[in-house]
């Protein structure tokens, strides 16, 4: 369940996440952090800033560039009762260590008939928009969600990041925590204005598997997640002035996915646009459309709109990258198409 503490402060997503990690590390000495540059550097995307100073090198462990080795080590430690948080610096690097992730982390519990638990949080940075090229800009949540046995959470704002991180650490299952670089609130990267936001004080948990509806509307449903939530909200605000009332669903978690929230919204609006920074085909946008088609295709008054990466490697040049990204312009166009404009 989602608990809402009373007081709030304004933090950026990185700080909110680090605070949640620190609180859990205080509560439970089995929690520790492992990854590349998580120590003195504090995480390339500030995902661990200050933790070394507070918890020391025994619990904040810088690793060699050996993702199979140290993610596998986190799995082994988890089966021994530790609760590791292990970082894969960019999700784009999953290919050097995916066997540990999907054949071990995700399957040991099942293969053991429930006798072995793997309580582990795999954190990883996703997303593009700053010309980091085809090997450093991907989202790939569809790839992780396709493979059973791991939960996959994808926060879009500081409060959810903190609440989902807390839930992930306390979960007895492996949880993949994917944070978009563009919402961390980094000083050196273009920031979405909502990358700083109110974060509840104290114990704050966001239930894994529950979508949020940051904006209600009656005309068109946008289902999205991560940075694209903010583009969707921006478009929704703009279109409100043009007489189109957009509802925005922030999935927050894609395994499990809150299918009911999607169906409820589309049943109301009759129009669905899916916005997904991952590759379009064989991924999240397809799955969402399928769940509607499986439930009742007649709730769709018009064909589903998809705004996603059009199945090509992410190009370096800005002009090209912003063609494949799900920009507000592309989202707006897709929404307007739903209402026949």
């Amino acid at each position: 369940m989602t608990t809402e503490a009373t007081g709030t402060r304004r933090l950026n997503t990185a700080k909110a996440t680090v605070e949640a990690i620190a609180r859990e590390m205080e509560r439970d000495e089995n929690v520790f952090v492992m990854g590349e540059d998580v120590g003195p550097y504090g995480g390339i995307f500030s995902s661990t800033t200050g933790l070394l100073e507070r918890f020391g090198p025994e619990r904040i462990i810088d690793t060699p560039i050996s993702e199979t080795g140290f993610i596998g080590a986190a799995i082994g430690a988890a089966t021994e009762g530790m609760r590791p948080i292990v970082e894969l610096m960019f999700v784009d690097f999953f290919g050097v260590c995916m066997d540990q992730i999907y054949n071990h982390m995700a399957k040991i519990h099942y293969e053991s008939g429930g006798n072995v638990k793997v309580p582990l949080v795999l954190t990883t940075a996703v997303g593009g928009g700053y010309s980091d090229g085809a090997q450093h800009s991907q989202c790939l949540w569809g790839t992780f969600a396709h493979l059973p046995g791991m939960k996959v959470v994808v926060p879009s704002n500081p409060a959810d990041a903190a609440g989902l991180m807390t839930a992930a650490i306390r979960d007895d299952n492996p949880v993949v925590f994917m944070y978009h670089k563009g919402i961390q609130g980094l000083a050196w990267m273009k920031k979405n204005r909502r990358s700083i936001g109110p974060v509840p004080e104290g114990d704050h948990v966001v239930e894994i598997g529950k979508a949020a509806v940051p904006r209600s509307g009656k005309d068109v449903t946008i289902v999205t997640l991560s940075l694209s939530v903010h583009h969707a909200l921006d478009v929704a605000e703009e279109l409100a002035g043009e007489g189109v009332d957009v509802e925005v669903i922030d999935l927050r978690s894609i395994v499990p996915m809150d299918t009911q929230a999607i169906i409820d919204s589309v049943t109301k609006t009759g129009h669905l646009v899916i916005v997904d920074e991952d590759y379009q085909s064989f991924g999240l946008s397809g799955e969402i459309a399928a769940r509607i088609a499986e439930h009742d295709p007649t709730i769709l008054k018009t064909p589903v709109g998809r705004v996603a990466n059009p199945d090509l490697p992410i190009p370096y040049a800005r002009t090209l990258e912003y063609t494949v990204l799900p920009t507000p312009e592309r989202i707006k166009e897709a929404v307007l198409k739903q209402v026949g404009r």
Binding site: F32, E58, T63, P64, S66, T68, G69, F70, I71, G72, A73, A74, I75, G76, A77, A78, T79, E80, G81, M82, P84, D99, Q100, N103, H104, I108, H109, Y110, E111, S112, G113, G114, N115, V116, K117, P119, P148, G149, K151, D172, N173
Partner: protein, 324 residues
Amino acid sequence: MDSNTQRELYQQMVTIRTYEETILREYHADKKPVFDIGAGLIPGEMHLAAGQEPVAAGVCAHAIDGDSVTATHRPHHFALAHGVEINAMTAEIFGRVDGLGRGRGGHMHLFDPKAKFSCSGIIGEGLPVAVGQALAMKRRGTNNVAIAVAGEGAANQGAFHESLNLAALWKLPVIFVVEDNDWGISVPRSQSTSVPSNAVRAAAYGIPGVRVEDNAVESVYEEAGKAFERARNGGGPSLLEVSTLRLWGHFEGDAQGYRSDLEGVPGRDPIPTYEQTLRDAGVIDDSFVEQTRSEAVKRVEAAVEFAKSSPEPDPSTAGDYVFA
């Protein structure tokens, strides 16, 4: 070496061999006249460890409560030597509800948290997990040791390199055991490995590396003993390669047409050799041998009985245990 230990090593090897022979029988029992890998009471791939008993027996003889073993796709010998509950293990191999994994795992996926045993069907990928177990052991201030097993073929996987470097860097109590049976399925060691001994690879991590050449349980026991002592005393990891023997095919059904050394294989069986050595030394005699064998048979047949009488999993439960 004291004769009690010798007898125990012998008993362990006989138990393992009896187990593998029995699984062999059960595996093939209902796959006749035409071999069908998916048919019968034990379906699926079956990798048996006959000939490799000295490695498991010699290494695990040093293990104490709380030590872990991470084994491979060929896991039975290490499972038995490490004290995995034989009934539940056998039930798992038969795919039954009383199995270690309630029938979900199978022969390559045996998990016994009590004995601290696990294995994996992916070559080399058990090693990092062992490194993590050792990390937890060290963090908790125990003197436990993680035993990580790999075939000589696995020593060419990236995971091998990363695991040894991590364990050495962090001075973790891991013993890396390489079972060199000369073959990775049909590929001979000479066509997969650029050096004649993996022991030399220890130098790449600044840790001790030893190769046992004779597949003799006592040599393994002795070298493993040094590695355990080092690991328990904070000396970090070791690499131990044993030149051993794949007595049968890679998996059942393997006709081994590719195998040039096939003729000499039976003569290299390590169990008769050791039995003779102990007889010659007066450590065991006919009646001890007889008793060892009959006890092994009794124990193994009881496990098979247990397995066969355990129900098959109810299809409606297939979705259980995906998440905790």
